[in-house]
Assembly symmetry: C2
Homo-oligomer: 315 residues x 2
DNA sequence: AGGCCATCTGCTCATTCGAGCAAAGCCGTG
DNA sequence: CACGGCTTTGCTCGAATGAGCAGATGGCCT
């Protein structure tokens, strides 16, 4: 497009979108035919001069969803818009809302749903509506008895989801990570724990988030890892954790000894499951979201616009 | 609009604007009639969920232009868009470009054009195209022999504008502000100076900018005022200067003694002129732009989106 | 100069869209 | 339960628009 047409296109776009004039009227104003106006407008669109944004917390970016599905071979993807956000927290809230919506609309309704815990999952649980489903039981996928702060949020998350669907929650009464391998084996051999783990493996769908590998991690907040242990994991390539297990950017376990001491489903079991839904959003989680998407740890990814663009650019 | 319709409207907008589906197709997807889809879309528009932006350095905001004309009784207004700017400087550049465009399109072509000087005006002069008009002579409206930095930019601005239109520039060989009133009278009585001032009063159109009253002012940079003198002006209510004369937010001279020592056309002469075009843009200039618009110092205002909104909100 | 290819222009026609209207649904009231 | 006002729904019809095409235009090489 030459400069004169470009300027004409801008004038036409102003009159068409801001002043609600018809292409015919614009033609008279700019002294061109209405067909030329139509061509100018489509040229302006395809040159990217015209940006149309849907500003709403529930708005999604369907184009990015399609590109994510195609690029990473995902079964499904949900990308929430970042338009009009006022704080970082809002990105997480929007993604959590989208996950709640997705879960509500999920068909067939999973009789048994495996869930993880964490800030995002807690947000999802609180945004689900009462009666979002009827008779969905919930089981925890990984240990989450918090050691110090905010005790019981892991349990509350699962309970909340189950109660609102009129179902039961099966809680995993165990820490996330044990200090000694023997303790971990002892806990695993407990009949209740073993039964819950077995139940989790049979869940029809899994909904989980992921944590970034930094000092804001829920594992540090909960006291399962010290900041220096986490630094060591980062040194080994960790980008974040999925159901308590730290992975590198290829989705591989970074510390197999630590992994052995972690209670809950294994990542291979997760990869083998058919309906795995990950909710991972926000700029801190770009790296771990990439690891998830590339390594097949989830079949469905629920994320935000910024993360989606980062993943697609990174490819 | 209830919540269900709101969500439907968002889905419809996504499919319509992002996926280019017809309203009929969307109706099939969402299980509503195509008329309902149309109504949802117009509801979404009027609720402000759909934001259409024209992202281009030459884009204008016609709505704001109309509101400025109506609110301040301006003959004309040009408001450049702020969409997609990467730095503050770009706002000034866009406004300068708009001023150059405006001048080029101005009819009837002014045989004699009065101009001021400063960063913005210099930018305007450099963005005018060679041959933007034929046979337009230019005259300086106010003194501008710089005392220290960037000598000659005031003269270069006027020369540039004139040369590109194949005309002559009449320069005012005088400082902007004199220290002593006697010196000012002496300079004014010089035959060349008097002739140029007389010529300026007869210009058919005037194009000028305005400076903000702060320590970045061109008057301080050029050495006409010391920072402390400027602080004193601010204390008296100065918001900025127009052709070298400091005004308060009502457009009145704040220091009549200083005004007396300033060489160039007077503000009353400017108010009485028929075709006065001011270019004032950027967040620093909101106050002085407001003074200009409210006090009738310009008939045409060329500014940016942010300033226009500030002016309209302030009313 | 003449001819050729690529682009641009203005048109026809079919599709899509929006304004306006009558009928249907909804709600509170007597 | 019947009634009257109010909103919502599905429709008709004409305006607005986009796709596709034939002819015009213009640069460019021979």
């Amino acid at each position: 497009m030459n400069e004169i047409d470009e300027l004409l296109a801008i004038r036409a776009a102003e009159l068409y979108f801001e002043e609600d004039k018809t292409q015919d009227e614009i033609g008279q104003i700019l002294n061109v035919t209405r067909w030329k106006v139509g061509r100018l407008l489509s040229a302006a669109k395809s040159s990217g001069f015209i940006r149309i944004e849907i500003v709403h917390p529930r708005a999604r970016r369907l184009q990015l969803e399609r590109r994510l599905r195609e690029t990473f071979g995902l079964e499904d993807a949900v990308v929430v818009s970042n338009a009009g956000i006022s704080s970082q927290d809002e990105i997480q809230i929007r993604a959590a809302q989208a996950a709640a919506d997705y879960l509500t609309a999920l068909r067939p309704v999973p009789r048994l749903l495996g869930v993880s815990w964490g800030r995002t999952m807690h947000e999802v649980s609180s945004r689900l509506k009462n009666g979002w489903a009827s008779g969905v039981n919930v089981v925890q996928m990984n240990g989450g008895v918090s050691l110090n702060k905010r005790p019981g949020t892991a349990a509350a998350t699962a309970m909340n989801i189950a109660q609102k669907a009129g179902g039961q929650a099966a809680l995993l009464p165990s820490p996330a990570i044990l200090e000694r391998l023997e303790t971990k084996h002892a806990i695993e051999s407990d009949r209740v724990v073993a039964a819950v783990l077995e139940m989790a493996r049979n869940a029809k769908a899994f909904l989980f988030s992921a944590g970034q590998a930094d000092h804001d991690s829920a594992h540090i907040e909960s006291g399962y890892l010290s900041p220096s242990e986490l630094d060591e994991l980062v040194r080994k390539g960790a980008v974040g954790d999925v159901i308590g297990r730290y992975i590198d950017s290829d989705g591989n376990i970074v510390d197999s000894a630590l992994n052995e001491r972690t209670i809950g489903m294994g990542l291979d079991e997760l990869r083998a499951a058919s309906n795995t839904i990950a909710v991972v959003a926000g700029p801190m989680k770009h790296a771990v979201a990439g690891a998830l998407a590339r390594s097949g740890l989830c079949k469905t990814l629920i994320t935000d616009e910024g993360t989606a663009i980062a993943l697609l650019d990174g490819e």
